[in-house]
């Protein structure tokens, strides 16, 4: 089984305050911590689990800066065998269709049975790259996958639907699967493993190296433009209870009881 896993280095904004830069179309990421995209991390684990069960090899693909190498080495420490990182600032990263085209270019020439990637990136949240990549490569796909069973020339996957429902689907290989969080429990990458992974091959390539015309994946090629970013106004009608924690608790308790809510 030859598996490719596509991962992205993203900021963690769950606790951080997000500020829009004066240019109005980017955010100030100087105070963010960065890590592998959450669902991509599950995709890495799933690819390693499949390798452990079936044999084969896993190759990491990523588009990103040099500082994302730590994320790639961690994936290798977990069991991925080699990696290709595309570094080129001419790629229109805001458009998942351009990202998919770039990835497809990088993947060209690599044999694979299965490609896995996270179902959504937590920064821009498109949910589009995986399925677009499948089309670029001319292979099958299934998105939002919460279970993978590898069969003979096919995979049976459970796709997560709305409303606590799953859909079981059979897809012929080769195929792209986009992985949903919770499908497994990602392992820890110990430092010794990361150090040993330094010996594994990590190829850094530009668009020219992979034979992708920069004009075909740049902002001119992209048919969408980010015009403006802004912080949404919080439209709250909430009554904020003030005071020390205990006072707040007491106020809330009496509101709930007097209002007949409990």
């Amino acid at each position: 089984m030859k598996t490719l896993v596509c991962i992205k280095y993203v900021p963690d904004t769950s606790e951080a305050e997000v500020k829009v830069n004066p240019d109005g179309i980017s955010v100030d990421d100087s105070r963010f911590s960065f890590d592998i995209n959450d669902s991509d991390n599950y995709a890495v684990e799933e690819s390693v689990l499949i390798k452990e069960a079936q044999g084969g090899e896993v190759t990491v693909f990523s588009i990103g800066p040099k500082k994302s190498d730590v994320m790639i080495r961690m994936a290798m420490a977990k069991g991925c065998d080699q990696a290709v990182r595309v570094e080129d600032d001419r790629i229109a990263g805001h458009d998942p269709l351009m990202v998919a085209k770039t990835l497809a270019g990088a993947i060209k020439g690599h044999e694979f049975d299965l490609i896995m990637t996270g179902c959504v990136a937590v920064d821009d949240g498109h949910m589009a790259t995986g399925a677009a990549l499948a089309e670029e490569l001319g292979v099958n796909h299934a998105t939002m996958v919460k279970k993978v069973e590898v069969g003979d020339g096919k995979v049976t996957v459970h796709r997560e639907l709305e409303g606590g429902m799953l859909e079981s689907v059979e897809v012929e290989l080769p195929a792209v699967l986009t992985i949903q969080t919770g499908i497994n429990e990602p392992r820890y990458a110990p430092i010794r493993g990361i150090r040993q992974a330094q010996k594994k091959e990590l190829k850094v390539v530009s668009l020219d190296d992979i034979g992708v015309d920069p004009d075909s994946v740049g902002s001119d090629a992209s048919q969408v433009v980010i015009e403006k970013l802004y912080i949404p106004e919080v439209e709250s009608t909430a009554e904020f209870l003030e005071g020390e924690p205990e006072e707040k608790a007491e106020k809330l308790a009496s509101i709930l009881v007097k209002g007949g809510l409990v």
Binding site: G125, A128, M165, E172, V224, I226, V262
Partner: protein
């Protein structure tokens, strides 16, 4: 310009809410784009559903064929590809759902058409179609403009707008399926209900929902004590179920359950949109969170900005006391 084609979504014989919600946006937008809104239904045995959605005053086109008994992204893509050539819509929109995201990106690549996903607003001004969408889990809004194209593709977020009232009926037109035979490379197998545990949170009157703020499962007992005091059931966000703190059948949100309790107490939940969509039916919402900027406060009736663990013990104690 052309029409706005709205691909409606349905599952197991019922139209999904998103199908109606898009009708709050599509007709007005189509007017601005110099066309009209047309609903497209793809399925098998679609008469009832077609009639129902035509009751919203929008023309409906139906591809009704046993080949479409269940959703299949590859088949949808083939049909849509052919219909786009045929109908030349200015915009094709569908839900940003497990269905929509499964074929729209591939369709965009195939047809070399621009795509913007998870729109929460659409505007057409000065011959430019602009999409409002969100980044960083809703902390930032973006206005994204399409460069001029023959057909734009958009997936629209569930629950972003309210469905309109139904109105006078409109025409239903059956069109022949461009897909003549089944495909071998992707097959629907079956639907699987998430396991139903001992509590059905969709039926609960009072829910206490926990999120990432719980930090670890050793903190559960204090929540359970509060729940016991007010006869509430404990539910949670995706983070809480992923962490294994609560069973998966108690997950609130678009990928979990849609709940409608009388009282919903969100603790340590920041309020990712997917979560908010699952609890929008709650009558009264209480939110306790450390981050004053947490989106959960936008839907709360009563809000406490604080560490949940500093508030909960006293809350439980006081509630027990007041309820005698």
């Amino acid at each position: 310009m052309g029409n706005v084609l709205v691909l409606a979504e349905h599952r197991q014989g019922a139209l999904r809410d998103i199908s109606f919600e898009m009708l709050a946006v599509a007709p007005g937008l189509a007017g601005n784009m110099g066309g009209e809104a047309v609903v497209l239904l793809i399925g098998s045995g679609m008469d009832e559903m077609a009639k129902k959605i035509a009751g919203y005053g929008v023309k409906v086109m139906v591809v009704d064929d046993p080949l479409f008994e269940n959703f299949n992204a590859e088949k949808y893509q083939k049909v849509l590809s052919a219909l786009i050539d045929d109908l030349k819509p200015a915009l094709l929109m569908t839900g940003h759902t497990a269905q929509g995201v499964d074929f729209m990106p591939a369709l965009a690549v195939e047809k070399k058409m621009p795509l913007v996903t998870e729109a929460i607003g659409l505007e057409y001004e000065g011959d430019v179609l602009k999409v409002t969408r969100q980044l960083y889990s809703g902390k930032v809004n973006a206005t994204v403009a399409f460069k001029p194209a023959d057909t734009y593709l958009v997936t629209f977020r569930e629950g972003a707008v309210e469905a309109p009232e139904s109105s006078a009926g409109a025409d239903v037109e059956k069109i022949e399926s461009p897909l003549k035979e089944d495909i071998p490379y992707r097959k629907f197998v079956e639907y699987i209900e998430a396991e139903v545990g001992d509590v059905d949170i969709t039926q609960s009157d009072i829910l206490i929902a926990i999120g990432r703020g719980l930090k670890e499962d050793k903190n559960l007992p204090v929540i359970e004590e509060l729940a016991a005091a007010i006869k509430a059931d404990v539910a949670g966000s995706r983070a809480a179920t992923d962490a294994g703190w609560i069973p998966h059948d108690r997950q609130v949100g678009t990928s979990g359950k849609t709940v409608k309790p009388k009282l919903y107490i969100a603790m340590g939940i920041s309020g990712a949109f997917q979560h908010l969509a699952g609890m929008k039916g709650a009558k009264t919402v209480v939110a306790i969170n450390k981050d004053p900027e947490a989106p959960i406060f936008t839907v709360a009736d009563y809000a406490i900005v604080d560490d949940m663990f500093k508030v909960v013990p006293k809350l439980a104690e006081k509630l027990k006391e007041l309820k005698g």
